[in-house]
């Protein structure tokens, strides 16, 4: 009788430990996602200041400034952090915003007055710092997601994940534009 209890208990303990580990990994990924959001929020707060300064000098890239404003609104919109699709869209919008900001930084090079403006210089320096923090948060998030996704995809984790309703999470990937090789002629 005792042996029978023991035989039933072992798989239950294993399943529980597996389940606890999955939940731990999901929570870690969510924690990492919130770290990304903290940094993205900092960037979003900084953008209006940069745009205000840039608007005084920039004459040609009006569309770029409009795009940035629209993308900022999209990136700062609320989302459900349990919904894979919504997380993916949120991260994509943030990455596109980053790409457009990168374009703005390059465009600044064409306006010597703007480039040498003290407030702009300070804002750009802060922006670069925030970008470095976003990059670090993204690496943390991707590491946590890799660990979660491996656990969710590999047997028997996939079965337990289904029972516990734990799903995969999307990676925070660079946009296609960011992955494309840089054409030096466009910048110089």
């Amino acid at each position: 009788m005792d042996n029978q209890i023991f035989l039933y208990a072992i798989p239950l303990v294993v399943i529980y430990v597996w389940y606890a580990s999955l939940i731990g990994k999901r929570n870690k990924a969510k924690e990492a996602l919130s770290s990304v959001d903290v940094q993205l929020k900092q960037r979003a707060n900084l953008i209006p200041n940069i745009l205000t300064i840039a608007k005084k000098f920039i004459t040609h890239e009006k569309k770029l400034l409009t795009d940035i404003t629209e993308l900022r609104a999209k990136a700062t919109a609320g989302y459900d952090n349990t919904n894979k699709q919504q997380i993916q869209e949120h991260l994509k919008a943030s990455e596109m915003l980053g790409g457009k900001m990168g374009e703005l930084m390059i465009a600044v090079e064409n306006y010597p007055d703007l480039k040498s403006d003290q407030t702009m210089l300070q804002a750009m320096q802060t922006y670069n710092e925030v970008e470095a923090q976003i990059s670090a948060a993204r690496r943390f998030y991707n590491a946590a997601v890799t660990s979660l996704n491996n656990a969710v995809q590999i047997f028997p984790g996939n079965l337990i994940a289904k029972l516990a309703n734990v799903g995969e999470m999307p990676f925070y990937e660079a946009t296609e534009a960011d992955k494309a090789p840089i054409n030096a002629a466009d910048i110089l």
Partner: protein, 342 residues
């Protein structure tokens, strides 16, 4: 391969510099003027002091040998004639202590002379790197504080810190101390003193702001890390993307994001490069907006020429330049003087 410039002095340094044999004949061209102005004039007076110290040293050796030989002869006879093991042990112990005492007594004039060089000549050498540089033979570094702040210094019972250099290069504050840490281990007949660290502690101000702590420890393999892993209880283990870096180092941090902010992919490359460049095991700690690097070095740094050689500070100067070159290389290799965000 690339060439570096030591900001103020303009000394050219190649990247793949091995710890070259220190030359005693030729002085670095850039340093020549500084040498001729501040150091060379002191050679005459130091030659006199050296001769006096050497005479005293030789005299003490002579006296020690004259006294020690008959005593040693009598003691050996007594030990061989004695049947008491206890007596033999006591006399042997006294003899060993007497030999150690005589050694230190003989070396004293040399020690004093060397100390004079370090207190009068070395500060002049370090002035070459800029006004901000200072050197002192004895270190006032609060090792206990540094140990608790950095959390990478191994536990020790006895610490000997010397050759303390402070200065500022390219906007980076630096502090360098040579340290020798020992610990008593075992009990009874197995009681012994073990060297737990010998090398350099180098502290740099960082070009990034951070509030937590990140430790870059030597990787001891899975089992080793498990036993060494007392940090894992206080800090979380950080798994980074670079497998080569992960093989070499084990990272613990109070903040996962901050650890990645400091250890960017390019910084990881640089740390690996630095370890290869120095051909020594290194560990690092980021705390209080500072970076501390621990470099293992078997030989004594800032070691002076033999007292038996006539005074020629060229070798000492070249040795200091060689050691400082390493510090400058660390700054350049890790790009600590640049605010690149990378």
């Amino acid at each position: 391969m690339f060439r570096l410039n030591l900001s103020s002095s303009g000394i050219s340094l190649t990247r793949k510099v091995k710890r070259a044999k220190v030359s005693s004949n030729t002085i670095n061209k850039v340093f020549e003027v500084h040498y001729n102005t501040y150091i060379k004039p002191k050679e005459v007076s130091f030659e006199e002091r050296r001769k006096v110290a050497l005479r005293r040293y030789n005299f003490r050796i002579f006296i020690s040998v004259i006294i020690a030989l008959p005593i040693l002869f009598i003691a050996m006879n007594y030990i061989m004639g004695s049947n008491s093991e206890k007596e033999q042990e006591v006399i042997s112990g006294i003899m060993i202590l007497a030999i150690i005492g005589a050694y230190y007594w003989c070396r004293r004039p040399v020690k004093r002379y060397n100390s004079k060089i370090k207190s009068e000549i070395f500060p002049e050498i370090f002035k070459f790197f800029g006004k901000s540089f200072s050197y002192s033979e004895k270190s006032n570094l609060d090792l206990g504080q540094l140990s608790s702040d950095s959390e990478i210094i191994p536990s020790y019972d006895n610490a000997k810190c010397e050759d303390h250099v402070t200065g500022r290069v390219g906007g980076v504050d630096l502090e360098l101390v040579e340290a020798w840490l020992t610990e008593r281990r075992g009990s009874g007949k197995n009681r012994r003193t073990v060297t737990v660290f010998k090398g350099l502690f180098i502290l740099f101000s960082m070009n990034k702001d951070f509030s937590g702590k990140t430790l870059v420890k030597k990787d001891w393999g899975k089992i080793g890390n498990f036993f060494v892993g007392k940090f894992s209880r206080k800090y979380s283990n950080v798994k980074l993307e670079d497998p080569e870096f992960e093989k070499q180092f084990e990272i613990y941090a109070s903040d996962q994001v901050e650890a990645r902010y400091l250890l960017t992919t390019s910084f990881m490359e640089r740390l690996k490069g630095l370890s290869d460049l120095l051909a020594a095991s290194i560990q690092a700690s980021f705390f209080d907006n500072k970076l501390m690097i621990m470099v293992n070095a078997k030989k004594n740094l800032f070691e002076l020429s033999s007292i038996r050689r006539p005074v020629n500070f060229i070798r000492d100067v070249n040795m200091v330049l060689e050691e400082m070159k390493i510090v400058m290389q660390i700054i350049k290799e890790l790009k600590l003087d640049q605010r690149t965000g990378l």
